[in-house]
Symmetry: C2
Subunit: 335 residues, 2 copies
């Protein structure tokens, strides 16, 4: 589109919402009007963005009566369930960060480096994948294209910022010696690893684990890929790390895999173990790329590969990915 | 043996060494004389143990001239390389916590719940396995016996105490905002996950990862088990956690696996996800058991199983396991 779009950020006061604003500014995302929206609890707050004060509006059924082109939602599943369809009915395209619409077959689930073409068949809602899935997809897609993927075993090391301010508070308070009033977690997170992200399902998996399994199938467009996952919260503020064990369909050479990642979109190869270079949560924090390293053959299975993948879960895992989707949208939207 | 043995603790001032003393006391390990030994740097210190002062002796070539039955070594690989054979020549049985002798075919590598019979063929040195291996073995042995194990994928979440006081200091200092003078690690550990434990090998694996692979084969007595590992240091003071993905040879029912672990030696089953019960590093710290939970079928492969295994790396992963070996020794030693 040639004119500048009108943008809404829904959930503007949350951890992801405020990162939406940061990333919009950094990427110089074009907009004519910007509307910041949140629940009644946060409405009325003033946010200064690019030297202009914005009063946060209360999200309600009339929020989308005004002309808005793209709404970036990060306000939780139930808010998305109610308001994303209202926005879509008003002609807004919603890029939704909640899990509400991800597995809906009428909603594309998009990582722009991986399946940008799926944006085209949206019906007013495009889902942003789960944070831990996004970074894995950026790593797996080049492997899928070149070698085919037979099976994936995920073990994750996820940051507390994925639980929003409550998660950050639980770790801050825990590190200060207060584990009494937990806001986000069932157990203390400071000095601990919690194999429990989101709720437990009847099959013994957490919802986070099932998200990784199901979203991998949808984004890579192949339900035949075998996937299992163990998702774990660790006492890290920012960036998710992932140990990914992969069985490829075809034989490979490690040097070719290195070269593949060296040239893959959105990827930074960090693999020079002699010099202690490998992806690290602290290094990834505040950046938009997916870092891949510890690339080595898994000798325990035919065409086996181990990799270590790190990304900022709030940026590439949420805000940046959503805004990259919005950037792709702009290319195709009518004037 | 009917008389009480003479015991030496070598490396008595280290993290594992001081835990040797704690565990000896807790388990009321019988001894006639106790000798505490350490390098020249720590020799001369006084340690009060069970209301008696012991002066730490400098370890040297004459340390084992006196009658000692069992020496618990935790003084690093090069010290073990030099002094364990000297001790053994003097008729001492060394239980060695370093990696020096573990893969030596003349040295048994023992987890008492798993392969106690290997103690019998010792030639004066018995190796204590790597901390991350020990807890995995306690979990895998019952599965091996009942179903057979085809393949194992380890991803670990390891505590800084595994690096001794230097690791503990790096995390303490990092949490206090000082990441400048790292003692143990190549990168800050506070707020970070380091996919780097021990040195890197030519094949891209760390020595820690190769230890898990090779020691699994030796302890389970089956080189045909396929094993791969990614070992990661996390900002946790005590207890290692492990995500273990397993392919069993035979079909299984989850309830049978639960029952198996409920009755397995050294294991505490903690698997009641509806009530947020699963193994946790903070809960395992200070205890001698191996905790197993998050037991669920891996639908991505035939006879696949995911489990989460946690144990205190300094106790069951080092000191307790060594003392359990010493307890087994006592049963078989001549008077």
């Amino acid at each position: 589109m040639k004119r500048k779009p009108n943008i809404a950020v829904v959930g503007a006061t949350g951890v992801v919402g405020s990162t939406f604003l940061k990333v919009l500014e950094e990427r110089d995302f074009p907009y004519e009007n910007l509307y910041l929206m949140a629940s009644a609890r946060s409405a009325g707050k003033t946010i200064n963005f690019r030297c202009k004060d914005y009063v946060v509006e209360e999200l309600n059924e009339h929020s989308f009566d005004k002309p808005i082109d793209i709404a970036l939602f990060s306000a939780g599943g139930s808010t998305s369930a109610k308001y994303a369809p209202i926005a879509a009915e008003h002609g807004v395209i919603v890029v939704d960060n909640s899990s509400q619409w991800r597995m809906d077959e009428n909603v594309p689930l998009v990582v722009p480096e991986v399946n940008p073409d799926d944006i085209a068949w949206n019906n007013g809602i495009i889902a942003n994948p789960n944070c831990s899935t996004i970074q894995a997809m950026v790593a797996l897609k080049p492997l899928q294209d070149k070698y085919g993927i037979k099976r994936v075993v995920y073990s994750t090391y996820q940051a507390v910022s994925g639980s929003g301010m409550k998660g950050i508070n639980d770790l801050k308070n825990g590190l200060a010696g207060n584990n009494e009033e937990l806001q986000a977690y069932a157990h203390p997170i400071a000095g601990n690893c919690l194999p429990h992200i989101d709720v437990f399902m009847d099959n013994g998996y957490t919802k986070e684990e099932m998200k990784m399994i199901n979203e991998t199938h949808k984004i890579l467009g192949d339900d035949d890929i075998k996937v299992t996952a163990t998702t774990v919260r660790v006492p890290v503020f920012d960036s998710h790390s992932e140990s990914i064990n992969i069985e490829l369909e075809k034989p490979f050479e490690i040097e070719d895999v290195m070269e593949l990642f060296r040239n893959a979109p959105g990827v930074v190869l960090q693999d020079d173990v002699e010099n202690n270079v490998y992806p690290l949560a602290l290094d990834a924090a505040g950046t938009d790329e997916v870092y891949i390293g510890r690339i080595r053959r898994d000798f325990s299975v035919e065409n086996g590969l181990n990799i270590w993948v790190v990304a900022d879960n709030i940026r590439k895992g949420a805000a940046t990915n959503a805004i990259q989707i919005a950037e792709k949208l702009l290319e195709t939207m009518p004037d």
